[in-house]
Each structure stands twice: as structure tokens, then as C-alpha cells.
């Protein structure tokens, strides 16, 4: 049986000007789990992390850790490790002292401090721990920040957009490092990010927030990607084209788009918004087929394995991917015949 390790129950938070950042937000995190909280800017994901760490208190709701209410416990009396976006290392201490500082606060003996700091320096691969923060690169600073957040064995490691200030190469390396640390230490980790790819890559489960701070869906990356619960998630996760349908019959899955295109759309791809049916068409759900519908290629983008083709179909821009090595090349302004969900016909 899985234990409710961290439980956020009906959290609400308003900021100055009466802006509601979170409303009725509930989320459970299991022990040892790697959970990513994803959402667009201003969705309140960092607020969730700050409430868990105690840096801010919610206006309503509760935070429970192993069933114990910690909602009003100040941050320094909780045992949470936080890695901040801007590293937040103490500038007057060298890397080693930054890592050791939380242990000296806890009045741990000198020998134990040395042993624990050295263990983390080695585990996280920090070179030159005698250097000061301003002598370290962004990636090195973030490694020190991770070590500092882990050294006192926190109940949860909270990562607040930890890679956003790093260049792409360092970001990928550090992402793998954190996943390795998670496997080795088995820590419960909550990652806050706006980057869904990062969330999918690293986490066991993802929690997706909408613009107004409501939790739209929680699930494994596969669940969220293939079975989005709301139109917001279908539009937010992965790349897709939004089609406004003229008619849709949920019992048969048959739809009409642009008055003349007949489609059969899987039910999980169609959502109803104010009485209008909307379908989200992912690039992998479009294929080039001789018995499809004609569209005109607008431009192509090379993406490595694939080439993303943007095309005009009945006045709307759609996009799909073709294998870059397949030899099937399409040129700009060329007309190609495509099929959606393998079921398109024109009346």
C-alpha cells in the first residue's frame, strides 16, 4: 500500500491586489516519488513549492507531512531542502562551507560534518570545493546548491526551476545527475518547471496546473500525454493543432470540420468548450496518404530525426512530422495529401 507522504489539501492563496493564485488545490506525493509540477507562467506552481517549504503560508487549506499538520511551521523548523532557480549560494562562504552550513546549524560534530559534506561532494561531482560562488560556473553553483539542500537529509527535496538559468548542455547533464541522485538516495523530490519535456523526462508523475491555479490533471507522463483530461492539457502538453469542429457525434466519433471534411476522431482527442467541440491533432496523428485531403506546404523545420512540415489546410495552419531520413521530402508550396487519425474523407 502506498503511504500518503506529503498531502496538500484544499490550498488557496491570494496575493496583493486580490489575485487568486491557488484555489482548492489538493495533491498527494508518495514517499520516494519524483513528482513534477508543470504549468504556464503565473499558474502558481512556484507558490505550491513555497507553501510546501514554508516560505509562504496558504490562506486556506493544509499541508500534511506523514499525516502531521505542518501548515504553520516556519521554514527553518521544517526539514525541506530547496534548490532555487538563481542558486542562492551564500557569497561569503566557499562551496564546501555552503554545503556544511546547514549541518553546523544543527550542531553536528566536526568529523560528521566533514564526512557528510565530502560524501556529497563526491556523489554530486563537485570539483574544487574550496572555491567561492563567484568563482564557479552556473552548473557548478547549481551542483553546490543541490548538495547544500541534500546534506541534512531533508524529508523532501524541492527543485524550483533549477535548470532555467543554465545553458542547454549543462541542463541535460544536470537533469541526468538529479535522476541518478534520486535513484541512489531514494529521496522524495518535487520539481517545479514550465518545461513539460523536462517534467516528462525526469518524473514518475506530473501534476499540471492551468493559468488560474487549478490542478488540471495528475498522472504518469504517458497518462497525461495520451489521455488528457481537459482541453487545456490537450493544448498545453505536446505540440498539437486545435481544430474547431462543426459537428461531433460522441457515440460514433464522427465529426465534420470546415463543413466538408469528414473525420473519425478518437473520443479522448475531443473536448467540449461552451457547447463547441474542439479536437487536438498531434503531429504523429497526421500521415501522408494518397487518399487523404490536399494541403499546401508553407514551410519546413529540420528537427534532427524528423522534419516538421507546416501546411495550409482549408485556411488553417496544421503541422506534422516526416522522417528526415526517409527520403520523402516535401518542398515549400508543394501540395500533399494527408490523412488525420487514418480516417479523413472529403465530401
Amino acid at each position: 500500500m502506498t503511504v500518503k507522504y506529503l498531502e496538500l489539501s484544499q490550498l488557496s492563496k491570494k496575493f496583493g491586489g486580490g489575485r487568486q493564485v491557488l484555489e482548492d488545490f489538493s495533491l498527494d506525493v508518495k514517499e520516494g516519488e519524483f513528482l513534477a509540477v508543470v504549468g504556464p507562467s503565473g499558474s502558481g506552481k512556484t507558490t505550491v513549492l513555497r507553501i510546501i517549504s514554508g516560505l509562504i503560508y496558504p490562506d486556506g487549506g493544509k499541508v500534511l507531512l506523514r499525516g502531521k499538520d505542518i501548515t504553520r511551521i516556519p521554514p527553518h523548523k521544517r526539514n525541506m531542502g530547496v534548490v532555487f532557480q538563481g542558486y542562492a549560494l551564500f557569497p561569503h562562504m566557499n562551496a564546501w562551507k555552503n554545503i556544511a552550513y546547514p549541518l553546523t546549524l544543527r550542531r553536528i560534530g566536526h568529523e560528521d560534518v566533514t564526512r557528510q559534506v565530502n560524501r556529497l561532494v563526491e556523489l554530486i561531482g563537485i570539483t574544487g570545493p574550496q572555491r567561492f560562488p563567484h568563482q564557479l560556473s552556473g552548473g557548478e553553483q547549481q551542483r553546490v546548491a543541490i548538495a547544500r539542500a541534500l546534506v541534512y537529509d531533508p524529508d523532501i527535496l524541492l527543485l524550483d526551476e533549477p535548470f532555467s538559468a543554465l545553458d542547454a548542455r549543462v541542463r541535460v547533464t544536470l537533469r541526468d545527475e538529479i535522476m541518478r541522485i534520486h535513484r541512489v538516495l531514494g529521496k522524495t523530490i518535487v520539481l517545479v518547471t514550465h518545461d513539460q519535456e523536462e517534467a516528462f523526462y525526469m518524473s514518475d508523475r506530473v501534476a499540471i496546473l492551468s493559468n488560474n491555479g487549478t490542478l488540471e490533471q495528475v498522472g504518469t507522463p504517458q497518462e497525461v500525454y495520451f489521455s488528457p483530461r481537459t482541453a487545456f492539457i490537450a493544448g498545453f502538453i505536446g505540440a498539437s493543432t486545435r481544430l474547431v469542429l462543426d459537428r461531433y457525434d460522441p457515440s460514433t466519433g464522427e465529426a465534420v470540420w470546415k463543413e466538408r471534411v469528414r473525420l473519425r476522431i478518437p473520443r479522448e482527442s475531443v473536448f467540449e468548450e461552451n457547447g463547441i467541440h474542439i479536437a487536438f491533432l498531434r503531429p504523429n496523428e497526421i500521415e501522408i496518404s494518397s487518399d487523404g485531403i490536399i494541403c499546401q506546404v508553407l514551410r519546413r523545420v529540420f528537427m534532427g530525426t524528423d522534419i516538421r512540415v507546416f501546411a495550409n489546410l482549408c485556411g488553417q495552419e496544421i503541422f506534422f512530422d516526416v522522417d528526415a531520413k526517409s527520403g520523402l521530402m516535401v518542398d515549400n508550396d508543394e501540395e500533399v495529401s494527408v490523412k488525420f487519425w487514418a480516417s479523413t474523407s472529403v465530401s
Partner: protein, 262 residues
């Protein structure tokens, strides 16, 4: 041509700034037709002078203590927790520029001459009064120091690793704004060493500090008074130079980059 004009302007400014000091040195070192240090040596044989100087140093250090111990945490509290009050606080710190020292002194006498705290003829008030006089300088230096730090981020990081408010202030914020605090404290010290109006009105001859004693001695022994004035210049310059050297060496050590790539 332009360069020559620049030089002339520079020489004129330097002459205007240095002439009172040089004239003072001339007057005190040039007795009759001879050069002599007699008036300075004479100062140190004067017990009243030594006591007055000692009092000034103690009171000035007291003002520095009030500024650093009471004002710096208070201002940090405003800066970190109530940033909206910062503008108001800044306006408040400029009050010593607006209200003359005489008004402050009369206010002190009115409030503290009787009632539960009859302190007006004791030196206890002086460090507090001097720290208020020095507040615009201390505040400006300290605020500049805080602004170079990411205070909120550091405070959050400190709280997350286990620091309470005071520990965050003392062990994380203060070490990083130390040069700014020191710079502000130096200005308070220099200002307090030369403060005359409030001291003369509140304690006067009961607790004669260096400027008060200098004023009284100048009446009947102008040469000794002038030596004291020159000495006060010298002390201030020495303190400024010492602290300036210290601050710049700290800053230099901090900004020495040994950047590494990943």
C-alpha cells in the same frame, strides 16, 4: 588648450578644499619665525584635552554601536519584510537634513529634562542623538550594500536550510553587507567626533567633548584651539583612510574571478 583648462580647474578646486587645512597647519606649526611642534606636544600635556578626546571617542563609538546594533537590523527588517515602507523610511532618515540640530537639542531638553527619564544633562542621550544625525549617511551606505545582494533569495535559502530571522541576518546578510555597514559606521563616527550643537546645548560643560572643549579653549588660547582643530582633521583623515583601505581590500578579494567552464 582644453587640457590646460581642466588642470587649472583642478588646481583651483584642490586649493579651495585644502586651503583651510593648510592655513591651520601653517598657523599651528609656524610659531614666530620658527617651525615647531610645540603647540601639538602641549595638547597632550593638557589633561582636559585628553579627557575631552576620550569622551568624544567613547560617545562616537556609542553612536556607531547604536547605528549598527539597533538601526541595521531595523532597516533590514523594513527592507526584507516591509519593502513598501522603504520610501517612507528613506524620507524619515532625511529628517536630520531638514530639522536643524538646534531643534533636535531643544526637543531633547524639553522631553528629557524632567519626567521618568531625566537624562538631559547626562551623556547617555548623545550616542542616540548622533546616530540620528548620522542616519542619512548610514542609511544610504547600508541600503546600497543591501541592493547589491539578492536579499530575498538569500533569506529564503537561509530559512530553507534552517536559519531563523536573526541567524539569517547575522550569519548571512551582515557578512555580505559588512563593507557597507563599516562605511556607514565610519561616517557616523566622523560626524559624531565633530558634533558641537547638540552636545553644547544638552550637556555643555558637564560633559565637555572634544569640539566643546576646542570651542572653549579657542576663546583664550587661539593657538591651542587651532592645533586641536588641525588634529581633528588629521584623526578624521586617518580613520577614513584606514577604513577605506580595509573596505577596498575586502571588495578586491571578493571580486577576484577565477572563472571555470563546466
Amino acid at each position: 588648450m582644453r587640457k590646460a583648462v581642466h588642470r587649472i580647474v583642478l588646481v583651483l578646486i584642490t586649493a579651495v578644499l585644502l586651503s583651510p587645512m593648510l592655513m591651520l597647519l601653517w598657523a599651528t606649526l609656524h610659531v614666530g619665525i620658527h617651525w615647531s611642534l610645540a603647540s601639538y606636544i602641549g595638547l597632550f600635556h593638557d589633561g582636559h584635552f585628553r579627557r575631552a578626546m576620550g569622551r568624544s571617542i567613547v560617545v562616537s563609538l556609542g553612536a556607531v554601536a547604536v547605528s549598527t546594533i539597533i538601526l541595521s537590523p531595523s532597516l533590514y527588517l523594513v527592507y526584507s519584510r516591509f519593502p513598501k515602507l522603504l520610501g517612507f523610511t528613506e524620507g524619515l532618515t532625511l529628517m536630520p537634513f531638514v530639522i536643524p540640530g538646534v531643534s533636535l537639542a531643544i526637543g531633547y531638553i524639553t522631553v528629557y529634562s524632567s519626567g521618568p527619564f531625566p537624562l538631559s544633562e547626562t551623556p547617555i542621550l548623545l550616542p542616540f542623538a548622533f546616530s540620528i544625525l548620522g542616519l542619512p549617511f548610514f542609511f544610504r551606505s547600508y541600503l546600497n550594500g543591501l541592493r547589491t545582494l539578492q536579499v530575498r533569495v538569500l533569506a529564503d535559502a537561509a530559512a530553507s536550510v534552517g536559519c531563523g530571522w536573526w541567524r539569517t541576518f547575522l550569519q548571512v546578510i551582515v557578512p555580505n553587507v559588512f563593507p557597507a555597514i563599516l562605511g556607514g559606521a565610519l561616517l557616523v563616527f566622523a560626524l559624531s567626533m565633530g558634533e558641537f550643537v547638540i552636545t553644547d546645548l544638552t550637556v555643555g560643560t558637564v560633559f565637555s567633548t572634544f569640539p566643546v572643549y576646542m570651542d572653549s579653549i579657542f576663546m583664550y588660547n587661539p593657538s591651542e584651539g587651532a592645533s586641536m582643530a588641525a588634529l581633528s582633521y588629521l584623526i578624521t583623515i586617518m580613520v577614513v583612510m584606514m577604513v577605506g583601505l580595509f573596505v577596498s581590500s575586502v571588495m578586491l578579494r571578493k571580486s577576484r574571478p577565477i572563472k571555470r567552464s563546466d
